[in-house]
């Protein structure tokens, strides 16, 4: 089985893993030929494979060590829950789409006119839910002790040092972006973007029932942000980041002395030193002019180009203000994968590096 473990370790390397995930994501949500994966049978097979993989992994000491960390157990659970509910919403949505294609109302419509008494129907459902959750929490708490490490010591940083698991997506962004972007700007934009969502979504369809094709682009955008850039980043940060924030495959031993050469280089160095063969200019504005131009172009030219071509229908439906907000948020979201690839392919550290003013992009 060693070859399998090595293969998995290799596949989990962030550049390869995320490239795979990007491809898989768009295939699963856009290529109609493979939509059988949203059927119950395929879900059972996928669940079986996932469970088998975890069961097989538990036999490996390194894998077991990471997965059975008390704080990581809920994440394994979350993986299966998020997978299941994503599948469920897609399954129900596609079922409704078939009905809509035959100009039948969505399935929810059949029961939405019927009114049911809250007592007994709803309160009993709620009570069952509460009892189930209570039992689950108590059993979980008996079998799994909450972690407690050594007393706090300001002089000794544990290796690795990680944020709480639900922020590990943000911590993973810190590998590619500076704290002011990964820790302040992007989280702020996530919140702003979520709040702006109802106001920039021009689509009036799909209100109150599951559907996919009536809301394809919204679902794609949201799920890309949620599944890939949030959940997958958490998975990476939790299971694949070891000592010194180095990458470790799930079956790899967490070796503190693992040497990974990180020789990152700024755009300004590439241009001035490697292309022009001159030293870095001392004036920061001259030094970073190319990077600044690039960033400005990214946020100014692309919206215009897209508005005239690919996004024209959106632009006409939404109007200027809504379109600009949407495209800005989208560009910020897509900038993360772009920065990841720049790092993996060219060791790009900063596009704009002005450490004098703590301004690095």
């Amino acid at each position: 089985m060693q070859w399998f473990k090595s293969a998995v370790d290799w596949l989990c390397n962030p550049p390869i893993l995320f490239t795979l995930i990007f491809i898989l994501f768009f295939v699963a949500f856009l290529w109609r030929r493979v939509f059988w994966i949203w059927t119950p049978r395929a879900a059972l097979i996928l669940f079986g494979l996932g469970a088998a993989f975890v069961a097989f992994g538990i036999t490996d000491p390194n894998f077991r060590l990471i997965v059975s960390k008390p704080d990581n157990v809920p994440i394994v659970g979350m993986l299966f829950l998020v997978g299941f509910f994503t599948w469920l919403s897609m399954y129900l949505g596609l079922k409704n789409d078939e009905r809509l294609a035959k100009s039948l109302p969505p399935e929810e419509k059949l029961e939405s006119e019927i009114k049911i008494l809250v007592w007994p129907d709803l309160v009993y459902t709620e009570m069952l839910c509460m009892i189930l959750w209570s039992v689950l929490l108590i059993v979980w708490s008996i079998y799994l002790k909450a972690p407690i490490e050594e007393p706090a010591n300001p002089a000794k940083t544990p290796n690795p040092s990680k944020a709480p698991w639900y922020f590990l997506g943000l911590q993973e962004m810190l590998v590619y972006y500076d704290p002011w972007i990964a820790g302040v700007l992007l989280p702020g934009l996530i919140i702003v973007g979520l709040m702006a969502l109802p106001y920039i979504d021009p689509n009036k369809k799909g209100n109150g029932y599951y559907t996919f094709f009536e809301r394809k682009w919204e679902i794609l955008t949201f799920q890309f942000g949620f599944l890939v850039l949030w959940v997958m980043m958490i998975i990476t940060g939790t299971f694949f980041r070891g000592p010194n924030q180095n990458f470790f495959g799930p079956f790899e031993h967490w070796d503190v002395h693992k040497l990974v050469p990180l020789s990152n280089i700024n755009l300004s160095e590439v241009i001035w030193v490697k292309l022009f063969n001159v030293g870095l200019p001392t004036n920061w504005l001259v030094r970073e002019s190319f990077g600044i131009l690039l960033v400005v172009a990214y946020f100014a030219l692309i919206p215009m180009l897209l508005g005239r071509t690919l996004f024209r229908p959106f632009f006409e439906k939404m109007g200027m203000v809504r379109y600009q907000i949407l495209i800005f948020l989208l560009l910020c979201m897509v900038s993360l994968p772009i920065k990841m690839y720049l790092r993996w392919l060219f060791n790009m550290h900063y596009v704009v590096a002005i450490p004098e003013y703590f301004f690095n992009i």
């Binding site: 829950l81 007994p120 407690i148 007393p151 300001p154 002011w180 209100n207 703590f358």
Partner: protein, 263 residues
């Protein structure tokens, strides 16, 4: 003269003054009394008397929002019980956490609180996923979606502030890394872009002793001040705000037409 038939004790209680002063309706075995059961009870009054059948389906709602609220209640109760034993100072905090396991009966209170917190974070995400996938943020529910986003952020902040309280290495360094991001806030953090521009002559207005991170930690690094500040935020500050927003959230669900359904 036949004596009146003996009533069972149960019936006597049901017809007695005490019972009827509390429950002002008969047994809920007909529509009228079932409506009254919801109408005359302050807790059940969260609900309308009747709801759409489609909104009752578990496959539609996944009960994610209700689960989140229930877990919030679990966290409130277990958190309150933990407060009886826990002292938020750097001398006592760590040993109090250890004592909770070894010296206190029913030594799983901390576990329930911690796992409940993890479960609540996951439940909130699933609730958001469900609301998105059913398009339940669309008119007329835009405002309530926004309240929901705020509640999601508050849930994460509740978890984050609670993370420091055990005062062990895990807690301290997670919060060090987390709060250092506040240091990078543009203009408000001493290492954020723009902070270097806020100077009067030779004196910088934003430095390690007066920036956003300082307000969070009550000091220049994670120490006793930070522990107390996080404790107050975790136990009182954020839960109060969250409770207010939850009240708005539930009220708006009803005002916007209950659980969403096809128009």
């Amino acid at each position: 003269m036949a004596a009146p038939p003996k009533k069972s004790l149960f019936t006597q209680i049901r017809e007695g003054q005490v019972w009827n002063s509390i429950f002002r309706h008969g047994p809920p075995d007909n529509t009228r009394n079932r409506s009254l059961a919801v109408l005359t009870n302050v807790f059940l009054h969260l609900h309308p008397v009747k709801v759409r059948k489609s909104g009752l389906r578990l496959k539609y709602t996944w009960c994610a929002g209700g689960t989140t609220f229930f877990l919030f209640l679990v966290e409130t109760i277990t958190g309150l019980l933990l407060m009886f034993y826990y002292r938020p100072t750097s001398e006592y905090a760590f040993s109090d956490i250890l004592d909770l396991r070894s010296q206190v009966p029913l030594g799983i209170m901390r576990e329930i609180h911690r796992w409940g917190a993890h479960a609540m974070v996951i439940a909130v995400w699933l609730h958001m996923l469900r609301v998105f996938m059913t398009g339940s943020y669309k008119p007329p529910r835009e405002f309530n979606w926004n309240i929901g986003v705020l509640l999601l952020v508050l849930t994460l902040l509740l978890s984050f502030t609670g993370y420091l309280l055990p005062w062990d290495q895990l807690a301290m360094w997670a919060v060090t890394v987390g709060s250092n991001m506040a240091r990078a806030t543009p203009f408000l953090g001493n290492e954020g872009p723009g902070a270097a521009l806020l100077r009067v002559g030779d004196i910088s207005l934003v430095h390690a002793g007066d920036d956003a991170r300082f307000a969070l930690l009550a000091g220049r690094f994670v120490g006793s001040g930070a522990l107390l500040r996080f404790y107050v935020l975790h136990c009182v500050g954020i839960p109060l705000v969250a409770a207010v927003l939850m009240a708005v959230h539930f009220w708006r669900v009803r005002k916007d037409g209950g659980i969403s359904g096809p128009l």
